[in-house]
Symmetry: C2
Subunit: 199 residues, 2 copies
């Protein structure tokens, strides 16, 4: 049992809320006061636990990776049918990353950000997580090739990178208020790409 006064906040919930707020308003678009208000965390506690605003952002990014990215990575890894796994990954783009203007992807936002004060910026976290997804996607495609689902001369790295880049693009479209048909068309083209590579 821990000593001292028990915390009023649930750490995971704080990070989920913070991630959502950062995603909606951007790093500079939301203040620490409002973050405290919305998360229910006292300001002192925030500084005690996370150091500063940038620290909270970094941990919120990590949490976002765990809640938003890990399931996808694991679904790909654990898919019995590798090709079907990749197809499912593509099909959920609309719901998952292109949903609404409030939505989008905290990673693409983090990578678009530029913090001159901190060269080793928090986008390193975003890079780490997208890098992991990239490796998993490549490995899953390689698995589909070895299983004879895709043509032997398919380059899994090319296909994986093209798909992941499209996913980034979908996030931008979703956030930027471009027509929703763009997302559907992108998904259709990505699935067609996979079909073309079929053995």
């Amino acid at each position: 049992m821990p000593r001292g006064r028990p915390p009023k906040f649930d750490e995971e919930q704080v990070l989920d809320t913070a991630a959502a707020l950062f995603k909606r308003d951007g790093y500079d678009g939301i203040g620490v006061a409002e973050l405290c208000q919305e998360t229910g965390m006292a300001m002192q506690s925030l500084y005690h636990r996370f150091g500063d605003k940038a620290g909270l952002y970094r941990e919120a990014l990590e949490r976002f990776g765990q809640t938003a990215n890990d399931p996808q990575v694991q679904a790909l890894e654990q898919s019995d049918d590798a090709l079907a796994g990749v197809q499912a990954f593509v099909r959920q783009w609309k719901r998952h990353i292109g949903a609404s203007r409030d939505g989008g992807c905290l990673f693409t936002q983090a990578m678009s950000r530029s913090d001159r004060s901190d060269p080793q910026a928090p986008d390193a976290v975003a890079r780490a997580y997208t890098g992991r997804l990239r490796r998993t996607l490549t490995a899953t495609l390689r698995r589909a090739i070895e299983a004879g689902q895709l043509k032997r001369d398919t380059d899994p790295a090319v296909l994986a990178d093209a798909l992941l880049t499209s996913a980034f693009g979908v996030a931008v479209i979703g956030r930027g208020g471009m027509p929703g048909s763009m997302i559907e068309h992108t998904i259709a083209a990505a699935l067609a790409m996979l079909d073309q590579a079929k053995a």
Copy 2:
């Protein structure tokens, strides 16, 4: 001849510089003072000419569209060989939008931005310009189909949206410090998509 004291600044140059700075640092990442310093424009003149910081941003976005987007739109429109025009468009992604961390695309940044104070935010400009590129790209692909360069059953809207979404993704990758090979792979896959659609 204009009345009054002649301005020290060149308006187009001011907008080009401002666009570059906004692209590098983001809207919140750079202050009006530094914008004046770098553009050589007096602060009073800036407020007289552009109203406020957001006004400068909006006009810088427009200028960016004219210098960065118009050439591509026109190259597509004026291409004798429609398919070759689209291929050239894709091939220049690496140089043009995925160049460096300072680079990227001001439009994708603008669309990722969220300004709660201004619901009709400046990203409307970005949407307008990317929308124009989207229409042109679709029209050029339709031209390639009608010229018999692409299969009759090709959907130009699907292909155009998939390509444009990839372009957005390339901008994110370039900014986010992901491996350069991702860009090359994406370009390769986009060109392969076009090859698959060949008649």
